[in-house]
């Protein structure tokens, strides 16, 4: 007890937090297995060529005369010998397949139906586009804000004006990029690592503190000679250690399956990773400094993590957001961490590139940590 550092207290607190984590199967699932499954699902979805199937409603115009040769679409189908069949509802349908050995084949099932039924299917999301005919002229009805509908419109209208597309399985204009670092999975994995750090710390530190306060365990502990800072140090140390393991396993898995590589400096990667952990640890202490209600804790954690998860470019680039908002988004710790990890992974960045975001994140974490401790309630 004479030593200013009470090692036994610290070791026992670290062991207690560690045991609590590794003995909880749910923690292991959400911390390790879930990110791997997510990378697997999204990785395959965005890196493997897959055939696309889309349904399209066709509200067929009634022929004006018995000897009418039919509408423009009807003529197209007849000319290209596209066979009539029936869909699962028993409606007449035609299957048009656009072959493509680089992008994957696209099959449109053009289902003949009445306008009313087409509207119901559109509202349900079963279809995104309705083909209608006025005096033999084809009209496309769709939400112009819907990118899927836009794509169907462009491809179908292109096909009807250039039927040769039906016979062109290989587009010589497309050169698929398969170099490591340019694929979607290369973009995704650093984002998943950053998101994992945030979620693990926000829930593992913030929620843990609030729950222990609600259970009066904090009050019980501070009634002993336990050094208060040790409780927090142990909690954060275990969480950061677990984040290294979880992120390491995710990297290992994606390296084996997708060939992910770290193109930049590994020490720089560790630095920005640690800085991100410090930033979120500080924020987590601050968020959990006062409340003893787990319901409020849930709300606070979601308040911090959800906007960042949506806006910080984890799954897709935040550069698609309005220009005025991107400077705000870049200031989020999750954006800094994701961008920093991504730059080391796929741009070959080193210390020079990650120094400033690392300092900002470590500084943010320290400020929040000190502020949190000032108002921290132990009971």
């Amino acid at each position: 007890m004479n030593s200013p550092i009470r090692y036994r207290q610290l070791i026992q607190l670290i062991l207690a937090h560690l045991r609590q984590i590794i003995r909880e199967p749910g923690v292991l699932f959400w911390g390790i297995i879930f990110p791997i499954l997510m990378s697997l699902g999204l990785g395959f979805a965005f890196t493997k060529k897959a055939d696309v199937y889309r349904d399209v409603a066709w509200v067929k115009e009634q022929p004006a005369r018995a000897d009418s040769s039919g509408s423009a679409l009807e003529i197209f189908l007849k000319d290209h010998q596209i066979k009539r069949s029936s869909d699962k509802d028993g409606d007449i349908c035609y299957r048009i397949t656009l072959p493509d050995d680089k992008l994957g084949n696209t099959t449109y099932t053009v289902r003949v139906m009445e306008w009313k039924k087409a509207m119901v299917l559109l509202k349900r999301g079963n279809i995104t586009i309705i083909l209608d005919e006025k005096n033999g002229r084809l009209e496309y009805h769709f939400d112009p804000m819907n990118p899927d509908a836009q794509l169907i419109y462009l491809k179908l209208s292109g096909l009807f004006t250039n039927p040769a597309l039906l016979q062109r399985p290989s587009n010589p204009d497309i050169r698929p990029m398969t170099i490591t670092g340019t694929r979607y999975i290369d973009f995704l994995v650093p984002g998943l690592i950053a998101m994992g750090v945030m979620m693990s710390i926000m829930w593992g530190v913030s929620y843990e503190i609030i729950d222990n306060r609600a259970k009066k365990l904090l009050r019980r502990m501070v009634a002993t000679p336990m050094k208060k800072s040790y409780y927090l140090i142990a909690l954060i140390t275990v969480r950061i250690g677990m984040n290294f393991i979880e992120s390491g396993l995710l990297f290992l898995f994606t390296w084996i399956v997708f060939g992910i590589q770290v193109q930049g400096s590994v020490p720089a990667l560790i630095t920005i990773f640690m800085a991100g952990n410090i930033a979120f640890a500080g924020i987590a202490i601050f968020m959990s400094s006062h409340t003893a209600k787990t319901e409020i804790g849930n709300g606070l954690i979601n308040l911090v993590s959800m906007p960042m998860m949506v806006l910080s470019g984890i799954f897709f680039s935040y550069h698609n957001f309005p220009e005025w908002s991107t400077s705000i988004i870049r200031a989020f710790p999750l954006t800094m961490l994701a961008d920093g990890v991504r730059s080391v992974f796929i741009e070959g960045a080193g210390f020079t590139e990650i120094a400033i975001p690392s300092l900002i994140m470590a500084g943010t974490g320290t400020i929040f940590f000190i502020a949190g401790l000032k108002i921290f309630k132990w009971h």
Partner: protein, 256 residues
């Protein structure tokens, strides 16, 4: 014969929370080996008083001395001599009984022999490898009591330690405390809603309501004092139990 120095001295203590005056001028002195029951209805100020003695609340006015020392500047030293058990204490679910005791033992720098001694004392030998989450309510309270006794405390503070327990589990806790009373000089403050518990375990009873002490003394002293007054009021029924006295003083039963 020398009179021992008090272990706890509460002198004219006041404490308010926003508009509520929780404690209003309480004086209380407790000597070594004394077991004191603090009785009062909900909101009487018992918990606030115990929290001030425990050092986690500061009085607005007045003074609290533990072993002759105030909390200010002596926190590290005083934490080593106090044991605490709270109502429905919940520890870390996925630690075993032994790991939980070991964690708290590390705060007092105690070795393994004391850990095993405590587990044995509270009768949890067979449960030493069980996770805390799998213990019954009674076993969990025994574990909490064991942890409170780890450091052989000079002062033991028990806040409703048997609330919600079945009669058997309650008796097991009483048995541990009675042994403690026979074998050590530990002083205890017990807050409880169970009159039988106060009568069985404590020689001194302090009745508190609206932040003030209404009566204090042994059970016999309290009853005889009140019954003596009966001679001035012959219509009143003589008081036989602590509950009768409590209702007379506070206008409420002990469980309200």
């Amino acid at each position: 014969m020398t009179i021992a120095s008090p272990v706890i001295e509460v002198r004219n203590v006041f404490k308010s929370f926003k508009t509520v005056q929780a404690v209003r001028g309480i004086d209380l002195t407790i000597y070594p080996g004394q077991f004191v029951a603090l009785l009062g209805p909900n909101g009487a100020g018992k918990t606030t008083l115990v929290e001030m003695i425990e050092g986690i609340q500061k009085p607005d006015r007045g003074e609290i001395l533990i072993l002759g020392k105030s909390w200010r500047g002596n926190e590290d030293e005083l934490r080593k001599v106090i044991g605490l058990s709270l109502q429905e204490t919940r520890f870390i679910d996925k630690l075993t009984v032994r790991e939980t005791v070991k964690l708290f033992a590390s705060f007092f720098d105690l070795d393994n022999s004391r850990i095993d001694e405590i587990i044995n004392l509270v009768g949890l030998d067979e449960k030493r490898k069980s996770y805390v989450v799998n213990l019954s309510g009674g076993q969990r309270q025994r574990l909490a009591l064991g942890i409170a006794l780890l450091n052989e405390p000079v002062i033991l503070l028990l806040d409703e330690p048997t609330t919600g327990l079945d009669p058997n589990a309650r008796r097991e806790i009483w048995s541990i405390l009675q042994k403690l009373r026979e074998r050590t000089q530990t002083s205890m403050i017990l807050t409880t809603h169970y009159m039988e518990e106060a009568e069985k375990l404590c020689e001194q009873i302090v009745i508190i309501d609206q932040g003030q002490i209404l009566k204090q003394g042994t059970l016999e002293e309290l009853l005889s004092d009140e019954n003596r007054d009966q001679t001035e009021n012959p219509d009143r029924i003589p008081l036989k139990t602590l509950d009768d006295l409590f209702i007379l003083l506070t206008g409420r039963s002990l469980h309200e």
